[in-house]
């Protein structure tokens, strides 16, 4: 509700200022800072200083003539961004692992050798104290750091002019629709939009509103219920449930994470469009993928593109031989997992995808002739591939979601205890379904069904309808004749339905954690 009021005010004043582009951008920037400060005021200085530093580094990078120096400046700039991210996100993780490693080594050597002492706040080695940090992770730091790196690398590769106004750079990074959970928009795609004047006569109100409502519906109706009432209890204590229920929880999490994250992306795209800016789509029916490579072209497209362009290709991509390609794939996905969180679970998740991509490439290279021979099976083969990829991804989501490695182990043990299914009520005295019921089954089905509706075709049809008067339906005609009334009635209906589905405890957007 607060966000609705905030956005209406921003919408009104930003369009009132459309004739004064710089003032408009200042207003949007201040609104974005206000938005961020309501989430966490403490880290607002980081949001201001980090893009400003990137702006200065971009200028330095652009004005430097020597190619070698440019490279060093780029490394330094990227290091500065990653250092900021690392300090907040990975400091404790690395310390924990160092402590674990040292504890492991003292089991072989006497403690006197290392003079290691553990305490609840850290540990000390050779009289040097390492303390765990207690600071909170700034919201969205993973996203705006990556956008800063995108800005610098695009300047280095001459895809973007270095001579940008500081206002454009600050707004590019801090723009509130995509600030805390993406999509990660490339600098070379967004900064040129900021330089152009916005068209106040043609605001895509209906399409943006539909996108926002769709996102809200996915979040409130599907993701929240599945997450808070079904997935969370089972992942917290998987051994209390039957293997069938745990299996459904795994499927449910696949649906939840898709609905949750794509909901946020849809809303970000919708809100940006209402303010006159275009974001790229971030999800393209990912569970319809027929291969892992295809999956990563459909899931979190902005992140996978970022990893491909700025990491995979920087490592050499597939241009340096097969072995190095597999290495690059693994490193990219490994670091992609690390980006999601400072935990071994995320590293395992990323590694599994890296290994999967490598294995897939290997099989394609080795057996492409055989596959071609079988291609006449057509749709059936496609379906098998889709099912296989979906189940592989669902399996890896277990590590992504489980609160710890131990819990992911428990989850897998319970999941594969289906062999004892007939004895389950005697073995652990749990009912087959303690939580799972027709309601969640319906949500699961609807959530998965969203993947099999071709929204692009529907959207193209809508565009044709709206542009060609001869094809106008009566609904479109009524909307054009009484737009305010129809729009208000539609909004009231949508809001009422969404309110009917609201849960007691609201699950925050999953990617807010990053």
């Amino acid at each position: 509700m607060e966000f609705a009021i905030f956005f209406i005010i921003v919408f009104f004043y930003s369009w009132e200022l459309h004739a004064f582009p710089n003032w408009r951008k200042i207003f949007l920037l201040l609104s974005s800072y206000y938005f961020y400060s309501t989430l966490d005021l403490r880290f607002l200085p980081i949001l201001i200083l980090s893009p400003f530093l990137n702006f200065l580094l971009g200028l330095w990078l652009g004005t430097e003539k020597s190619v070698n120096n440019k490279k060093y400046i780029l490394f330094f700039s990227v290091f500065c961004n990653l250092f900021l991210l690392g300090i907040f996100k990975y400091y404790n993780f690395f310390l924990e692992n160092i402590q674990t490693f040292l504890q492991f080594t003292t089991s072989f050597f006497s403690n006197d050798v290392l003079q290691m002492q553990n305490n609840t706040n850290g540990f000390s080695v050779l009289n040097y104290e390492f303390k765990y940090a207690e600071w909170t992770l700034p919201l969205g730091i993973s996203f705006f750091t990556f956008q800063g790196i995108s800005y610098l690398v695009d300047i280095y590769r001459k895809e973007l002019d270095y001579n940008n106004s500081v206002l454009d750079v600050l707004l590019y990074i801090a723009f509130f629709p995509h600030l805390v959970a993406g999509p990660i928009v490339k600098a070379s795609e967004f900064i040129p939009q900021l330089k152009q004047k916005v068209d106040s006569q043609s605001i895509p109100l209906v399409s943006s509103f539909i996108l926002i409502c769709f996102g809200l519906a996915k979040k409130i109706i599907i993701a929240n219920h599945i997450g808070t009432d079904f997935v969370d209890p089972i992942f917290e204590n998987p051994m209390q449930y039957s293997s069938i229920e745990v299996l459904f929880a795994a499927y449910a999490y696949s649906v939840q994470i898709f609905c949750d994250f794509s909901a946020y992306s849809d809303m970000a795209i919708g809100f940006a469009a209402l303010l006159g800016y275009q974001f790229p789509i971030n999800f393209n029916q990912p569970y319809q993928a027929t291969s892992l490579q295809d999956f990563w072209r459909r899931w979190h497209i902005s992140l996978s593109q970022w990893l491909k362009i700025y990491l995979y290709q920087s490592l050499g991509g597939n241009k340096k031989g097969e072995l190095k390609t597999y290495r690059n794939l693994f490193i990219t996905m490994f670091l992609g997992g690390l980006w999601h969180g400072a935990s071994w679970n995320f590293l395992i998740w990323g590694s599994l995808h890296g290994l999967g991509l490598g294995l897939e490439r290997f099989i394609k290279n080795q057996f492409s002739f055989t596959l071609f021979t079988w291609s006449y099976l057509g749709k059936f083969l496609n379906l098998l591939k889709i099912l296989f990829v979906f189940h592989f991804v669902t399996l890896t989501w277990i590590f992504f979601r489980a609160p710890s490695f131990d819990k992911s182990k428990e989850f897998l043990i319970t999941l594969f205890s289906f062999l004892n299914f007939s004895q389950i009520s005697e073995v652990n005295e749990t009912a087959v379904f303690q939580i799972f019921n027709p309601f969640y089954f319906t949500l699961l089905t609807v959530g998965m069904g969203l993947h099999f509706i071709n929204w692009n075709k529907i959207f193209i049809f809508y565009v044709q309808i709206s542009e060609n008067l001869k094809l106008k339906t009566s609904a479109i005609r009524i909307l054009q004749s009484y737009p305010t009334l129809i729009f208000a009635l539609f909004s009231a209906m949508v809001f009422t339905i969404l309110t009917a589905f609201k849960t007691q405890g609201v699950a925050p957007f999953i990617y807010f954690r990053f």
Binding site: S202, L205, S207, P233, A431, A492, P508
Partner: protein
């Protein structure tokens, strides 16, 4: 405002957005009121919530609020349905691990306050009982909604029970405990409550009680958004009446988790009785007493669990009023089976609301867990677990 396409200029767009916001807010005024109420820590929001409360009271008595209530109840009802395997005769079979152990009603008269749509209830023309059914009641709802003789009670509840009246066979005199005997090994417990119970406590209480003795049975009836203030939403006294009539069960103990939704005005004879006024206190006390009497006729012991500490200072002070009423009622009748369990200061720090709690972990490490949901009202998964454990200890189960 005719356009060639579905894009609009800034002025038209703004008008449309404002119109949409106003109409959506008006149709869903209850939700707006809830939102404003939860934010009522500041004076500005307190004033807003007072305004919304006045509008909400008016809208509650009109048809406008019925559509959101109907939809919310429909969703709530569908959410509570379970998968059942085999015949329905297994449903009360406590040895069947698939059974969810909830009381099942099979009423000849057609009057029933349970929401389970699987039950084949006979609807007779004479009492015009309307059964909540997510799939087939839409036409009935529209019919009543558009009819001219609609009373203020929400259409999909039994029309033979007028709003806020209780069956006359329930007296308000304090009843003596009935002597109830149970086999020690097959004790039954009943958990009744609102979303505080539903959103985690029931699951943990159930497993904790079962861990004492796997032969214990636990019946649960939890309905979000309900209480004793609004029987038009869910009639708890009628539920107990039916339970006594159809099951005639003797519980070892009943745990009651009601009150969190009761810090609101009452509706009596189409009039609104303001929260906290002497009339309100009298009427609410009457309802508590009736409810406790019903519980005592069904169980050896009734534990009324008071309201938790809330984040919103205003909401918390209202709930303390409720807590005081219930506490003094119960304590003034020591011979009654009821016992008030004061949990208001549980999991607080210096009597202040906290969202996190520290637990001892392995090897002396400290683990911090979130015990309250983001709304500052409900318990999180960990909160429910810790709360349930403490409750079991406190009630010496």
């Amino acid at each position: 405002m005719k356009r060639n396409n579905l894009n609009f200029n800034k002025d038209d767009s703004f008008k449309m957005i404002i119109a949409a916001l106003l109409l959506s807010s008006f149709v869903n005024i209850s939700s707006i009121y809830d939102w404003a109420y939860q934010k009522s820590n500041s004076n500005v929001m307190l004033n807003f919530s007072t305004i919304f409360q006045k509008i909400n009271d008016w809208v509650t008595l009109t048809k406008i609020n019925q559509l959101p209530i109907y939809l919310q109840s429909t969703v709530g009802q569908y959410k509570e349905q379970k998968f059942y395997f085999g015949s329905t005769s297994n449903l009360n079979d406590k040895s069947n691990p698939i059974s969810d152990n909830r009381p099942i009603f099979d009423s000849d008269s057609g009057s029933d306050s349970d929401f389970d749509s699987r039950i084949p209830l006979k609807v007779t023309e004479s009492n015009k009982a309307y059964i909540l059914n997510a799939y087939s009641n839409a036409y009935s709802f529209l019919n009543i909604f558009l009819s001219t003789d609609n009373k203020t009670d929400v259409p999909f509840y039994k029309q033979n029970t007028s709003l806020n009246r209780y069956p006359s066979n329930f007296s308000t005199d304090k009843k003596q405990l009935s002597s109830i005997s149970n086999s020690e090994n097959n004790l039954s417990y009943l958990l009744l409550g609102d979303s505080i119970l539903k959103s985690g406590v029931q699951m943990h209480l159930q497993s904790l009680i079962k861990s004492k003795n796997k032969n214990y049975t636990i019946d649960i009836n939890s309905k979000s958004g309900t209480g004793l203030s609004r029987p038009d939403v869910y009639d708890w006294n009628q539920y107990l009446l039916n339970l006594k009539k159809t099951q005639n069960k003797n519980y070892q103990a009943i745990y009651v988790f009601l009150g969190t939704n009761d810090a609101q005005n009452l509706i009596l004879d189409k009039k609104v009785i303001k929260f906290g006024t002497p009339d309100w206190q009298t009427e609410y006390s009457k309802r508590i007493q009736t409810f406790i009497n019903s519980n005592c006729s069904l169980s050896k012991k009734t534990y009324w669990i008071g309201a938790l500490k809330m984040r919103s200072v205003d909401f918390d002070s209202r709930l303390m009023v409720l807590n005081d009423i219930v506490k003094s009622l119960i304590q003034s009748a020591p011979q009654s089976c009821a016992e008030y369990v004061d949990v208001h200061d549980w999991f607080t720090q210096d009597l202040n609301f906290v969202e996190h709690w520290t637990l001892p972990g392995k090897d002396g490490e400290i683990k911090t867990v979130k015990i309250r949901a983001d709304d500052g009202i409900h318990l999180s998964y960990w909160g429910s677990l810790l709360f349930s454990k403490k409750l079991i200890q406190r009630t010496s189960l």
